[in-house]
Amino acid sequence: MPEAASLMPLDWNTIRVALGGALSLLGALLCIVGTIGVLRFPDVYTRLHAASITDTSGAGFVLFGIALMAPDWIVLVKIVCILIFLMLTSATSSHALANAALTAGLQPKIGSMRKGPHEDEASP
């Protein structure tokens, strides 16, 4: 009822939409962080680590935010399914990519990146 809603502006429906939006925004920012990492890191294997931020926490927070904003439980179940499948498949695909790179003979760069020439930091 409207008067109850105006008396209690902080009911659960208001909170969950706001919180869900904030969490989705956080997830989007984490995706951007992952992309920055992909651009900055030196080789395939290290770039995979950066991409896994986008896969896990980025997608996780976005989906958790959407789940909070879900209108009914049917949608909620679908989002949970997406989350489960995404976690299973993103790990598998990361492993497949790394394994393919190793099989193709690509040697990972080992050791501290500080000693090497700093061409990575030079580019904006």
Binding site: G34, G37, Y45, I53
Partner: protein, 161 residues
């Protein structure tokens, strides 16, 4: 037995995803579930791994711990991505696992990959090649806890198989 597990899972999945319970739609549901069963029989994937519901409780206990680990590792990699000074020191290490069944090994390898900063590159027998973003965090000892939890969550109780 395993066929029954897949039947129940497929039915529950359809029910949870559709939200339509008219007779026509339920008929389609029955048809699609039966088709799924026929296909999985033809692919010969109706076995212990095809319906791993016995160890579902173990997995449920494992997931919150893994989520926390993933969040902690995320923080490390996020800092590495945004730091002005690129201070990563990638390393390759061999990790020996105590997991016996294939399911437990896959769970362990996927957990390592899912945790940002570490990727399982190769699995051979009970040895795994892991690539890590920081040398200090990627020592074989740091995976012992995860290995033990995976073995507890996914390995059969009698340590057979």
């Amino acid at each position: 037995m395993h066929l029954l597990g897949i039947l129940l899972a497929a039915t529950a999945f359809w029910m949870a995803n559709s939200g339509h319970y008219k007779p026509l739609m339920l008929g389609f549901a029955a048809a699609s579930v039966v088709l799924t069963l026929i296909l999985s029989l033809r692919f010969k994937i109706v076995d212990r791994e095809g319906s791993p519901y016995v160890r579902l409780l173990g997995f449920l206990a494992y997931v919150p711990w893994l989520t926390w680990e993933v969040l902690k590792a995320n923080w490390v990699v996020i800092r590495a991505c945004l730091r002005a000074d690129l201070d990563i020191s990638p390393a390759l290490v061999k990790v020996r696992t105590t997991c016996k069944s294939d399911l437990a090994k896959v769970t362990f390898a996927n957990s390592i990959t899912l945790t940002p900063g570490t990727v399982t590159v190769e699995i051979q027998g009970d040895k795994m090649l892991v690539h890590g973003l920081y040398e200090a965090n990627t020592v074989p000892e740091s995976f012992i806890g995860m290995d033990a939890r995976c073995a507890r969550a996914a390995d059969p109780k009698g340590a057979a198989s």
